[in-house]
């Protein structure tokens, strides 16, 4: 036993030495633009907007060495404020808060630190503050486009939709999707399910299988982790799934038809660059089809040229104002989750 203890102690010392050796590696001359990102409780590997914006920031730091980027993960609702304050205390130039759940914490921190720049994704309630940029996405437009794809693809004229939560902001996904489906295939049925949960992959799978037994052959999800279950179920049953937020085709390359992209990555890059260039502006920054802020996923292997052409035409129509994608549940009676 003594021997073991001795070995442990020796190992310990070796570690300590190793630690000392690596210390004085990093110190750069020019002051860097430091960007801090606070995730919501989904964490940085959520395969969704936390991950996308972090990847965007990493790419930015890789191409422009004057940026230093970092993130802090929130485990609970109460962590938001702590994490935001950590970045402020560390003297970061910009704090990017990912998701509307951080709206209150951002507001509090922004009011307490008027000289600190903030950006928040998917929230516009802080648009009145002079130091918060609100990065908003026209999720209904992206959903409309995948709705078109679903409507053109379905053979059973039945498509499914799983939503993570009912709220005005989440409803835009469903409303846009259903409008798209109906525009492509007016007599289609859209089966809808509110999982009331963004982390319940088993529940998502059950809901998707239920829809499949009812005849759905394309299912779209806007449900974070719950949607992982949807995609798995679609892959198991051999039907099409449509991903959300990021290009989710790598989750199941043979069964993810397309994804409704929100370019959270380019939005967080833009706002970071604006801090560097001194052009940072508060208020709402809208990302939609006109500035490539939303759209279909770049992976289009499963889409025929015909469908791509029709989608491109729809994009033209939306950009020219000929088609206005609805944003509220009231405009689309077929959307049943809101009640």
């Amino acid at each position: 036993m003594k021997k073991t203890l001795a070995i442990l102690l020796v190992l310990c010392m070796v570690f300590a030495l190793a630690a000392c050796g690596q210390k004085a590696a990093e110190s750069s001359a020019a002051p860097k633009i430091r960007i801090g990102m606070v995730t919501d409780v989904g964490g940085v590997n959520d395969k969704s907007f936390n991950q996308t914006s972090w990847e965007g920031l990493q790419a930015l730091a890789a191409e422009d060495s004057s940026f230093e980027v970092n993130y802090l993960e929130s485990k609970t609702d109460a962590d938001y404020q702590t994490n935001i304050n950590t970045f402020i205390d560390e003297g970061y130039d910009l704090v990017i808060c990912v998701g509307y759940m951080l709206a209150d914490a951002t507001r509090q921190a922004a009011q307490a630190n008027p000289n600190q720049k903030f950006a928040i994704i998917d929230d516009d309630t802080n648009a009145d503050l002079p130091n918060v940029a609100c990065l908003m996405f026209a999720q209904e437009q992206a959903s409309y486009l995948v709705g078109l794809v679903a409507g053109f693809t379905t053979e059973t004229k039945t498509v499914g939709y799983v939503q993570g939560m009912v709220s005005p902001s989440m409803n835009k996904f469903g409303v846009g999707f259903i409008s798209g489906v109906l525009a492509a295939c007016p007599d289609a049925t859209v089966l809808q399910y509110n999982a009331n949960n963004f982390g319940d992959s088993a529940g998502g799978s059950t809901a998707a299988k239920d829809m499949i037994t009812k005849g759905a052959d394309v299912i779209y999800h806007a449900a974070g982790g719950t949607g992982m279950g949807v995609i798995e179920a679609c892959a198991e049953e051999g039907i099409w799934a449509i991903g959300v937020d990021t290009d989710q085709s790598n989750l199941s390359p043979d069964h993810v038809l397309t994804s409704a992209m929100k370019r959270v990555d380019s939005a967080s890059q833009d706002i970071s660059k604006s801090v560097k260039n001194g052009t940072f502006s508060a208020g709402v920054h809208l990302y939609d089809l006109t500035n490539n802020g939303v759209g279909l996923a770049p992976t289009t292997t499963h889409l025929s040229q015909d469908i791509l052409d029709k989608v491109a035409a729809a994009v033209e129509d939306i950009m020219s104002g000929k088609v206005v994608v609805p944003t509220t549940a009231e405009e689309v009676p077929q959307f049943t989750l809101a009640d």
Binding site: T86, D104, G224
Partner: protein, 382 residues
């Protein structure tokens, strides 16, 4: 041979030493992982240390510790009385939701009335949540671990349901409850916080946690109730033979344990959160409580220290990303600590049975001297 035994039995007899070694092993394993990942151990652990040693950092540690301490007390209390309260998570959730409802709906009451009311509501809700499980166990013998895990999920969805009720739900876009009334918050005065430059969520909940610690110690060690509960915990049959109502004891234990977990929920809400979000996953305070109770050897004062330790790990760990170290390192450390504490308990048990086994079977062959030694070794620990 002799020396080996010496070290072993010394460690086996000193619980505190076991805990320290477990914690040391936790950091050691963490260091191994850091080296495998090619990261600097010194930078990571240095950052962990500097994050919590400043005044501001330390105030954060206390803020984070409050609920860990109280939930740890809850689990420790149940351990002492022979029940495994894995349901602290659910009791925490219903407790904080009850406090939130009171804090939102009775928001116009002055703090001096509202705050105790929130605490009471939370403790009542937690106690009820624990008692239901206790009732199922004592009435129909339903395994409490199973029903508690299920009750955790019932609490989870109940909380989400209540958060969705219009009177409770946020007016803004956030998927959460409204913020509780300012008078229901346990925050320290803003001027005080600004002057000391401590955590914006610094609150006096720690006093409640310390009071709860003393109270739990008092109940367990100084009252008839505590004696009865402990008797049931150490040997149900003997306790029953001694005239103690086992079923009633289990119910009481779960109710008190639940009330503590509920109180933890209220403290977390009124100190830190101010609102409850619609959960997408379990926040894990109850499970943290189990870790804290284990590290604290189920001793109330041990739990107090363990809660601070855990709070320091969680808060300090949250900053590891700033030096490029994944925060999951903390999970590795905590997991290893729990693992080593558990196997030390397991070893004791195994050792104990092995000794008994030996004495029975080989009594004739074994020399009297050795039997004595073995008995000494087995008898020294509980």
């Amino acid at each position: 041979m002799k020396e080996k035994k010496g070290v072993f039995s010394y460690i086996a007899d000193h619980r505190f030493l076991q805990i320290l070694i477990s914690i040391f092993m936790g950091f050691l394993v963490g260091a191994v992982f850091l080296i495998i990942m090619g990261l600097s151990v010194g930078e990571a652990y240095g950052r962990l240390l500097t994050s919590i040693t400043s005044l501001k950092g330390f105030s954060y540690v206390i803020v984070y510790s409050i609920s860990y301490i109280v939930v740890g007390l809850s689990v420790a209390f149940s351990f002492k009385t022979g029940v495994f309260n894995i349901g602290a998570e659910g009791q925490f959730v219903v407790g904080s939701m009850a406090a939130a409802c009171v804090g939102i709906l009775c928001g116009n009451l002055p703090g001096i009335v509202l705050i105790p009311l929130c605490f009471l509501a939370a403790m009542a809700a937690g106690a009820i949540w624990g008692s239901i499980v206790g009732f199922l166990k004592t009435r129909w013998g339903i395994n409490e671990v199973l029903s508690m895990i299920m009750f955790n999920w019932i609490a989870f969805y109940l909380s989400n349901f209540i958060a969705g009720i219009p009177a409770i739900h946020s007016d803004g876009s956030a998927e959460s409850t409204k913020n509780i009334a300012a008078s229901a918050r346990t925050l320290l005065p803003q001027g005080f916080i600004d002057r000391l430059n401590i955590a914006p969520t610094a609150n006096w909940g720690i006093l409640v946690a310390v009071a709860a610690t003393v109270l739990v110690w008092f109940i367990i060690e100084k009252t008839t109730l505590g004696y009865e509960l402990k008797a049931v915990g150490s040997n149900k049959n003997a306790a029953e033979y001694g005239g103690i109502g086992v079923n009633r004891s289990i119910l009481t234990s779960l109710a008190i344990s639940g009330a503590l977990a509920g109180l933890g929920g209220a403290l977390q809400l009124m100190g830190m959160g101010g609102r409850i979000s619609v959960f997408t996953s379990q926040e894990g305070f109850g499970f943290a409580g189990i870790v804290v109770a284990l590290i604290g050897c189920s001793n109330p004062f041990g739990v107090l220290v363990a809660g601070l330790f855990y709070g320091a790990l969680i808060y300090g760990g949250s900053k590891l990303n700033l030096v490029g170290v994944p925060t999951q390192l903390i999970n590795v450390i905590v997991g290893t600590v729990v693992f080593f504490i558990s196997i030390s308990i397991l070893f004791e048990r195994l050792n104990f049975t092995a000794v008994r086994h030996k004495t029975r079977k080989e009594q004739n062959i074994m020399q009297q001297e050795e039997i004595d030694k073995a008995n000494e070794k087995g008898g020294g620990k509980q």
